[in-house]
Symmetry: C2
Subunit: 101 residues, 2 copies
């Protein structure tokens, strides 16, 4: 499987961020063609101590590279990307990963 991994730094207004993420962004992400699964996790601690470098992680799973590439080119993904930049610019690191096995 291929997944898009979004790592978010802690925003200034956590409540507003989460509200937008859940009410506006997530529905857009879920419209992306071929999305198999969305896993969202709240980062609670850095195991080595101190403030964790990230606040939240979202992983969007696609069956294979073909499906992933098609999804990334879709209008639905463009809308999700545009929305992302509207509330998470400067906060988000977006990585493309290949899941082993």
């Amino acid at each position: 499987m291929v997944k898009l991994v979004a790592l978010y730094k802690k925003p200034e207004d956590v409540e507003a961020f989460l509200k937008h993420y859940r009410e506006v962004h997530t529905p857009l992400v879920k419209k992306t063609p071929g999305l198999e699964r969305l896993e969202v996790s709240m980062i609670k601690a850095d195991a080595f101590g101190g403030e964790p470098p990230y606040f939240m992680m979202a992983e969007m799973y696609y069956r294979d590279w073909e499906t992933f590439n098609a999804a990334m080119k879709s209008e639905e993904n463009k809308a999700a990307g545009k929305d992302l930049m509207s509330f998470a610019k400067g906060l988000v690191t977006l990585l493309v990963a290949e899941v082993e096995e």
Copy 2:
């Protein structure tokens, strides 16, 4: 679920790193009591371009906080942690996350 998320920067000797990770480290991690699932992913790209900040990610899933905390205190986990520091010191970021839903 609760998961330990290990984000690894790219090592100097990728081949040696992966050999150690797969042949020595992974068996130790899998001995950790209560580990439900280990998901390893290779980071292939930074969606915004440039070199991705990480090379590999490993996620270790536990059923709940009680199981996770017990696992972290275990002798097996101590062995895995000691091994981690032997080959990944300076490379690894280790986060504790709570999976939504």
